[in-house]
């Protein structure tokens, strides 16, 4: 119960702070829209080319916008040395990790809703027919990205070259997740059934479990520095 209360406290605090400052949401939304404009201008009305590269573009937009948010998730704790106060409050520090992870999932979920809506609007792509399966891939993929992103966000929060180091550390670790989500999305948007991508979904589930457990096990050590 105490762990749940601590986790909820972190999520509640991050949501309230973000709702008031709007720093991360504004940056992420602006970046997503900008990316879509670039994609639209590059591909124009070429439907064949668009169909081929759509899964990659979709996840590229989600990933790049997500990187902005994930990298900033612990910057808030750096201000006024709140990180120190989190450390000095007795109790399981894993709650900070889970709370930040849930906050990042909320943020990335918001990004995905907007990116999907903009893709549908700008590129005239029908994602509705692939929706139940695509939602599952989005959920599993986002969990994997957020799990590693939250951990590395904490790891690099106090590093001077944070903006450079964060993606350099994160992206190689995310290769299995990125591979699985792009391949699954490609198949689902092409109209294949969910059963045809079950091997990719298994990989995503395995990666998610490993990343979340690794985050929970190492976060205490990370916070203690």
């Amino acid at each position: 119960m105490s762990f749940a209360r601590r986790t909820f406290a972190v999520v509640w605090k991050d949501v309230v702070v973000e709702r008031r400052s709007k720093e991360t949401v504004t940056a992420v939304l602006f970046f997503s829209v900008l990316l879509l404009f670039v994609f639209e201008f590059t591909l124009g009305g070429d439907r064949d080319r668009l169909t081929g590269v759509l899964p990659g573009l979709l996840w590229l937009a989600v990933l790049l916008a997500g990187l902005l948010g994930l990298g900033r998730s612990f910057v808030l704790e750096r201000d006024n040395d709140c990180w120190e106060a989190l450390l000095l409050t007795p109790g399981d520090k894993g709650a900070v990790y889970v709370g930040k992870l849930l906050g990042n999932l909320l943020l990335m979920g918001l990004v995905e809703v907007i990116v999907l809506a903009l893709f549908t609007l700008f590129m005239n792509v029908d994602v509705a027919r692939a929706m139940p399966g695509l939602l599952l891939v989005l959920l599993l993929g986002t969990l994997g990205i957020a799990a590693v992103g939250t951990l590395f966000g904490a790891m690099t929060a106090h590093v001077r070259a944070r903006e450079l180091l964060f993606p350099v550390l994160l992206l190689p670790v995310l290769v299995p997740v990125l591979l699985a989500i792009v391949k699954s999305t490609d198949a689902l948007l092409a109209g294949q059934p969910l059963g045809s991508v079950d091997h990719w979904l298994k990989l995503l589930v395995a990666a998610d479990v490993i990343y979340v457990v690794a985050g929970l096990l190492t976060f205490d050590v990370l916070l203690e520095g």
Partner: protein, 243 residues
């Protein structure tokens, strides 16, 4: 606090050494602070005051020697130490975009307790911030933030306060308030270790003065035995000798 009597030391430091790279910051520090004592820790910049506080607060680890708070080892029993110690550091430990009440609500929840808005408002009243309960911390003056930081510490009901420059950025009224609060804290059986540069009236809170220079304690004397001029003379004498 198993097995502790009311006269057992709340802070006990023995042979403490700490180095950052090749720079030795603490070089064999010994210190005992008992319940009801407020120790003023004086020393020039780089003397090791903040490092000593951080080791006692379990933020940093010593290279050698031991430090205990209420009988718990700061390095090996960090979580137990954190349950009885409160650190007022340079950072406010507050979120600027939350209100005063929301900050206290967050830290109460994060400590695993259910927040009671009336009790939290009473704590805010204790630090004379009840009128600003719904105002964002971003709009607070430095003194108000300092008082809210103290209110945050009160939530944990610590027995030991570690204070780093507690009077910085405070006006006369706020200083008096903090002095009054700290006197009440020691009268209730708590112990205070207070690092400061100030050699003036702020030291009236202290029952003992300790001068730290070049990582060593070079003076440890009861506050009552020293007048204001004497403190200035000894501080200048010992810190110049040490350097």
């Amino acid at each position: 606090m198993i097995g502790l009597t009311t006269s057992d030391p709340l802070i006990q430091v023995s042979g403490l050494r700490k180095a950052y790279g090749t720079t030795l910051v603490l070089d064999g520090v010994d210190l005992v602070v008992r319940p009801g004592e407020a120790v003023g820790l004086l020393g020039p910049n780089g003397a090791g005051k903040t490092t000593l506080l951080k080791i006692l607060a379990t933020v940093a680890r010593p290279a050698r020697g031991t430090a205990t708070i209420a009988g718990h080892d700061c390095a090996r029993e960090a979580e137990r130490v954190r349950g009885v110690v409160g650190l007022l550091a340079h950072g406010t430990h507050l979120y600027d975009d939350l209100t005063a009440l929301e900050n206290l609500t967050f830290w109460t929840r994060f400590a695993g307790r259910r927040p009671d808005p009336d009790a939290l408002r009473a704590v805010l009243a204790e630090v004379e911030l009840d009128d600003c309960a719904e105002a964002r911390v971003r709009t607070f003056s430095a003194g108000m933030k300092r008082r809210l930081s103290l209110a945050r510490l009160l939530l944990g009901q610590p027995r030991v306060l570690l204070l780093d420059e507690p009077f910085s950025s405070l006006d006369q009224r706020a200083r008096k308030w903090v002095e009054h609060y700290l006197e009440g804290f020691t009268a209730g059986g708590g112990a205070i270790l207070m690092a400061t540069h100030a050699l003036g009236r702020e030291l009236d809170v202290a029952t003992r003065l300790v001068i730290l220079a070049n990582g060593r304690i070079i003076l440890d004397a009861p506050r009552g035995a020293l007048g204001a001029d004497e403190i200035h003379r000894l501080y200048a004498l010992h810190t110049e000798e040490a350097s």
